[in-house]
Symmetry: D2
C-alpha cells in the first residue's frame, strides 16, 4: 500500500534535511518543494541532496514573476511599511510560496504540508494562515505538520548538535561550510538577517553580513541617476543613465536591485514586534523596494488628491502593512482594503527622476504628462489668476471659530501667555 | 492724540519693509517685531532698517529654547512627519513666534498685529489661527492686518517692481544683493525653499540652494558616530565621537545640526498639499530633526509596547502632524492628542548609537538600562524558556478560524489556486 | 437682447420668492427650479406663485428614485450616521438636488444658479461644493449667486419684516398661514427642524412639530412586525405583516416610512457641529432610514467578517458620514471610500425580522440562505466538533505575552492590587 | 503536609460545583470565591453548597462600587459600545472580578486560580489575560486551571448528563429547578443571555427570558421623566420625577436600573464576533447603561469641541470598546487610550433631561451652567453678530479648490451629468 505523502518546504539546509528524514521515519513519502523567489540558490545541489536523503520527488517552482507583480508591486502601491521601517520582504514572499506549495501538494496527492519554521517566529503563522485559507481550494482535509512545534520533535532535537548527530547517524550530507552566526531569508525583495549574534540589539551587524547590498562606504563616488515611470501606481518603465529602457516587471525589478546593490541602498536594522507578541531584532537589505517606494511616495505628492492620500496613509498603508506582516494576506480584510487602494492608483501616472549615492536615494524631480492636480500657476505666490486672496480671509474667518472658543475658555480659566 | 499701534512681524526684507511703511501711511505707529528662532540673521541691521523706515520701536525675542523644548522635542516624541516626508520645521516655529508677537503686542498696547504672509500659503493660516486662539489672553479685540489679502494693498503692489518703485519713492533702503530665485524660511529646525524656479516640480534644486546642509557629494569620506540618549522620549544627552557630552537642549540641538550639516543629512524635496487645497513644491533641509527622529523611532522599537506603538502611529503621529501643518497647534484637538502621546513616552528611555555618512543616518545599535520589553532570551529561536511552541499551535488554530471561513467561501464560489 | 438667465432653487416660501423678485430686479430672467425628493408639497401652487412673481419658467424634477437608490441606500450600506445620532437626511438629498439644478441650468442656458440658503448653515456649503464639482460637466463658467451672503441683499433684508414689507410692495402673494417658529426641510429620508424656538437646546420640541412621525405616546398599542431582505447590502424586499411584498425601491422606502410614521419611529434631537464650526441644535424624524439602518447593522452581525466590519466601522462609516455632512459627496475621497464599502457588501444577503412599537424598532431574528459565516454548531458551547479547547489555551498563552510584560513592569514599579 | 490551595471562581451552579469537587479529587484544597457585582444571588446558599461540596473556605467580595465607578462610568465617558450595539456589561465586570479573585488567592496563599469558563467563549480570555497581567503583583508563579480546556476534564464531562451523574455519585446537591434553555450572566450593568435555544439567530427570545427589564409591551402607559447631571463626564446626580436626588454612584446606578427596568429600557439582541473568531448570538438587557450612554452622548453634543469629538469617536470609542471586549483592560494600550479620553471629559459638565417610555429613552433637553461652546446667538440664522456671511463665501471659495479639480478631471474623462 502506498504511504501517505507530505509536501515539505525544503531549503537544502540542515533543519529541513533532518525534517525530511524524520518525516520518512514517521512513515511518510516526502515531496521536497522549493520556491524560486529570486534567492541565490544551487537548486540542482538541493535536488540532489533531497533525493539523497530520501525524498520521493523534488519540485522547484519559479515564482519570481507572480511575487513581483502580485505582491511587491501591490506593496509599492500601498506604500507598505511596517513599524515605520520594514519593507516586508519576507512577508510578501510567504503568500506566493504557500500557494505554490499547496498546488504542488495537490498535484502530488499529499495529505499534508510541512515546513521547518520555528515555533516563535512569524513565518510559521504566515505559512499556516495561508494554508488554512487555501486548503478548501485544494483538499479541505489537508494537514499541516510543523515539527518545531511537536514535542516529539523539538524535545528530540533540542540544539544544533542534536541535528548534526542525527545527520551523521542517518547519513545526511552536511555542508562543510561553517554556519553563519545568524539566520537569513533571501528573495527578490530583500534578504533578512536575524537571531544569533544579532539577538543583542546593540551589536552592530558586521559589514560582510549584508548579502544584497555593497557597503555605502565602498560604493561608487559618483551618483547614478535614472528615471522610474508608473502607470496606475505600478512601476512600468525604468530608464537607466546609459539610456537602457526596461518595462518587463521582473527585469525592471532585478535591474533596480543591481543598481541599489552597487550603491548600498536599503539597509534597515530594527527591533520589531512579532505577531505573537515578542520583540525581535531584524536586519534587512531591500534595494529595489527601497527605491520603488521612495519614487512612488514622491509621485503621489504630485498626482494624488490630498484627502485621498490622507485616508490612504492612515487607513490603507497602516493596515495593509500590518496584515501582511501578520500573515493575513489571504483574508477578507486584505481584499476589503485593496479595493480602495487600487481605485486610488488610477491617477498615479508619471515619472520620477532619481539618484542613488552612498546608501541614499534622492528624488531629482518628477512630472506627469496626464495628471493635472499640480499647477505651477495656481501654486505660485505671484499669481492671483483664478484665486482671490479675500477668499482666504473668509476661510480663516470660519476656521478660527473653534479655536477662538478654545482660546476664550483658556482665558476664562485664567491661563496666561507664558510658556506652557 | 497717540496713534493706534500695530505690531508687525518684521523680517528686514523688501515685503515687510514696504508693509511697515504702508501701515504708517494708514495712520498707525508700528512696533517691528523679530523672533529669534535660530535663523542666521543680522538683527542689528534689521533694527536699523526698521527704525529708518519709521518703526516707533524694534523688538527681538530669543525664542530658541522654547522652540526646541516645546515644539521640536514634542514633534520628536510624536515621530511627527507630514505626508511621509516633511518634518514640519516651519509649522513648528509658527506657534512660538505668534505667541511671542502677541506678548509684544500686549506689552506695547497694540490694537493689531500684522504679517507679510502671502494669501495662498500656509503661514498666514498658522499665524492667524494662533492669534485668534491667543487673543483672549491678550486683548480680545485685537485685530489682524494681513496686507497681502487686502485689495487696497495687493492691487497696488501687484509685482516686485511695484514694491521696488515704492521703496525708492519713500526711501526704504534696498539691499543691493540680488534676490534669490526662490523664497526661504530658516529656523533651528530647518530651512525651507519654495516658489520661484522651484515651482516647476521637475527642476532639481541647485546644490548651492541648501543653506543648512553641505552636499552629500562633498561630505567627509569618513562616517561620524555618536550616541543619543532619551528620557521619556525627550533627547537628553548627546555624546559625540570625540567624547563631548551635551545635555542642554539647545546645545544638543545645535550640535546635532552642525554634525548633520557636515554630512549632508536631512534634505527633502516634495510636492505637498497646502491647507487651502493647493499643491505646492517645497524643499527642506533639517539636519538635527532628521537625526533625532531616526533615533527616536529606533528606540521605540526597543522599549514601546506593540499595540501602544500601533495606536500611536495610526492616530497620534498622523493627526498631530496634520494639525501642526494646518496651523492648529493652539486647539483642543492638539491638547487631546498630546495626553496620550506624553503618557506613551514614559518608557522611552535608552540610548541609540548612530552614524552619519554622505547624506544618510544609520543606527548602529541601541540599549536601555531601565526598560525590559525586549529580551534576547525570549526572542531567541533557540530558547524555549518560559515558552511552549505548543501554545503557538493553539494560537494559529484560533487565528485561522476566520481565514478558513474565508477560504471556504472562495472555494464555494469556484475560485481556483492559480494567480489571482 | 435676451437677459442673462439664473436658475433659482425655489421653495415657494417667503425667502426664495423675495430672492426671485430681487434677481429679476438685478436684471436676470429667472428659471424657478423645484426638486421633488418626496416632500409634501403643492407643486402646482408653487408654480403659480413663481410665475406670478415673475419667473420666466418653472421646472419641477422628480428625483425620488435617484435619491433613494443612489444616496439613501448607499448610506444604509455604510451604516452612515453623523455624531452618533443623525441619519443625514438633508445631507443625502443635497447632491441629487444640486445635480438636477445644474441639469436644468444647462438645459435653459443659465449663466448662474442661485439658492436661498443662509450664510451660517451647512446647506450653502453642500450645494455649492456640489455645483463647483459639477460645473465642468455643464459650463465651467457658471456662477453661484448666494443672496444671503451678498451685503447688498442681507443688509437690505435684515429681518423677516423687511421681507414682508418688500413682498407687499412688489406684490408677492404671502401665504396667510402663520410661519412656524422653526424652519423645516423635508424629503423622503426625513424632515429636519431647526432655528427659532429650537435654538434653546433645553426647550423640548412641541409634539406637533414632528411632521413625519406620529407620537410614540399615541402610537398603536400593538406592535407591528415585518421582514426586510437585503441583497449586497441593498434593501431588496419588504414583507409586511399583512403579507404584502414590496421590491420596488421607492415603494419599499415609502411603505417603511408609513409603518414608521404610525409607530413613531426615528425622532432625533441633538446638538451637532456644523461644518463651519458652529454648534447647532437640530431635530429630525427619519422613519424608514431608522428602520433600514437597524436592520442592516443587524444583518451584518450575521454575515460580515469581523475584521472587515471593524475596519469598515472605524474607517468607512465615520468618514463617509462626515464627508456627506460636510457637502463632499462629489469628491475623490468619497469615491475612494466607497470602493471598499461596496466590496464589503457582497456578502450582506439575508433577511431581518423586525418589530416596531411605540417609538422603538426591535430585531426579532435574522437569517441568510446564502451566507455561512455564522454556524450554530461552531458557536455552541456544547460542541467541540472542528474545535479543540486546547487551542484556546495556546491562544491565551501567546496573547498573554504582552500583558504579562505590562504586569511585570507595574510590579517592578511598586504598584499594588488595590483599586486603581 | 498542607495541600496546595486553589482559588476557584464559584457560581453555585452545576459546573463550578463539579469543578470544585474535581479539584479536590486532584489533590487541592479549594477556596471558593464569589464576586458580588450586583447580581441577584443567594450568597448564603452558595456558601452552604460550596462548603458541603468540600471547599475549605468561602469568600464573597462586594465589588459593586469599584465596578460602577472604575469600569461602568469609564465606559460611559468613552461612549463605549461594541459592534454598534453591545454595551459591554460582562466585559466590564471581568477586570474587577479577576482582580478580586487574585487578591483572595494571595490572601489565602493559593498556588492557582481556577474558573468554569468554557473553551470557546470570551470570558476565559478576559479572566486569564487579567490574571496574567496581575500575577506579578500577587505571586508571579501563580497558575491558572481551566478545566474546560483540560482534556482529562472535558473528555470526562462531555455533556450535561455526565455532570449530573457525577454530582449524584459524589453527593453534590443539585437544585431541582430545571435549567434555563440558555446561559446567563448578571451584574449591575446588565444580564446576558446566550447559547441553548438562542444559538438559532432567528429564534426570537421568549419574553420571560429578560431578567432586568420588564417588557415594553406591559410597561407603564405614562412616560417617566428625570434629569441626569455629569461632572467631567461622570454621572454625578440623578433627579427623579418625584424630586428625589441621588449622588452616590451605586445608588444612582441602581435607581437608574430600576427606572429602566420598569420601562423596558436597554434590550439588545445581536450576532457578535468573539475574540477567538467565532460568531455568536447574544442578548443583553442593560437599563442603566443604556440611559447613561444616551445622556452622555447627548451632553457631549452641547459641550465637546467638534474635532475632539471626532477623534474620540473614531479612535477612543472604537478601540477602548474593542479592548474591553477582548479582555485587554489590563494592558498598556488601554492606559494609553484613557489618557486622552479623561482629558477630553474636563468640559463634559451639564444636565440632560430625559424621558423613558415603552422601551425607548429620549432626550427632552440639555443645559450646562459652566460650558459655553454652544451659543444660541451664534447658532441663530437670524443673527450676524460676530459673524460675516462674506467669510463663508471665502470658506467655500477655498474648500472648493480640490472638488473643482475633481470635477474638471471627470469632465476631461468624458463623464456626464446623468445618474452615476
Amino acid at each position: 500500500m502506498a504511504k501517505p505523502k507530505v509536501c515539505l518546504a525544503y531549503s537544502g539546509g540542515l533543519d529541513t534535511s533532518v525534517i525530511l528524514k524524520w518525516l520518512i521515519e514517521q512513515g511518510y513519502d516526502v515531496v521536497a518543494f522549493m520556491a524560486d523567489v529570486g534567492q541565490v540558490e544551487d537548486f540542482a545541489a538541493a535536488e540532489k541532496k533531497a533525493l539523497a536523503v530520501g525524498a520521493v520527488k523534488f519540485v522547484v517552482e519559479d515564482l519570481k514573476r507572480e511575487f513581483v507583480e502580485e505582491l511587491c508591486f501591490r506593496a509599492i502601491q500601498c506604500n507598505a511599511i511596517f513599524e515605520d521601517r520594514y519593507l516586508l520582504g519576507t512577508s510578501l514572499a510567504r503568500p506566493v510560496i504557500a500557494r505554490a506549495q499547496m498546488r504542488v501538494a495537490q498535484q502530488n496527492e499529499c495529505i499534508a504540508v510541512s515546513h521547518g519554521c520555528t515555533g516563535k517566529g512569524n513565518d510559521q503563522v504566515r505559512f499556516e494562515l495561508a494554508f488554512y485559507a487555501i486548503q478548501f481550494l485544494v483538499q479541505p482535509s489537508i494537514k499541516v505538520i510543523a515539527p518545531w512545534r511537536l514535542p516529539e520533535f523539538f524535545e528530540r532535537f533540542a540544539g544544533r548538535n542534536d541535528l548534526l548527530d542525527y545527520s551523521a547517524q542517518v547519513g545526511i550530507p552536511v555542508t562543510s561550510t561553517k554556519a553563519k552566526p545568524w539566520s537569513m531569508d533571501e528573495n527578490l525583495a530583500h534578504c533578512s538577517y536575524e537571531a544569533g549574534i544579532l539577538e543583542d540589539p546593540d551589536v552592530t551587524p558586521p559589514d560582510d553580513m549584508w548579502k544584497l547590498t555593497d557597503s555605502p562606504l565602498t560604493a561608487p563616488n559618483t551618483p547614478e541617476e535614472f528615471n522610474l515611470s508608473f502607470e496606475k501606481g505600478i512601476p512600468s518603465k525604468l530608464t537607466t543613465a546609459s539610456g537602457q529602457t526596461l518595462t518587463d516587471s521582473v527585469e525592471l525589478f532585478t535591474t533596480l536591485n543591481a543598481i541599489g546593490r552597487k550603491h548600498g541602498i536599503g539597509r534597515v536594522d530594527i527591533v520589531e514586534n512579532r505577531f505573537i507578541g515578542i520583540k525581535s531584532r531584524g536586519c534587512y537589505d531591500s534595494p529595489a523596494m527601497t527605491i520603488l517606494r521612495a519614487a512612488h511616495v514622491d509621485l503621489e505628492g504630485l498626482v494624488l488628491d490630498r484627502e485621498v492620500r490622507a485616508l490612504r496613509d492612515q487607513f490603507v498603508t497602516f493596515n495593509w502593512s500590518k496584515l501582511l506582516y501578520n500573515g493575513l494576506y489571504f483574508s477578507p480584510e486584505r481584499e476589503f482594503i485593496e479595493k480602495s487602494v487600487l481605485a486610488s492608483q488610477d491617477t498615479v501616472n508619471g515619472t520620477v527622476r532619481l539618484c542613488v549615492y552612498k546608501g541614499a536615494v534622492s528624488v531629482l524631480g518628477r512630472f506627469s504628462e496626464t495628471e493635472k492636480l499640480y499647477s505651477a500657476e495656481e501654486s505660485s505666490m505671484d499669481s492671483l489668476i483664478d484665486f482671490s486672496p479675500v477668499d482666504t480671509t473668509g476661510f480663516i474667518g470660519i476656521s478660527k471659530i473653534r479655536v477662538a472658543k478654545y482660546g476664550q475658555a483658556k482665558a476664562d480659566a485664567g491661563e496666561s501667555l507664558s510658556r506652557a
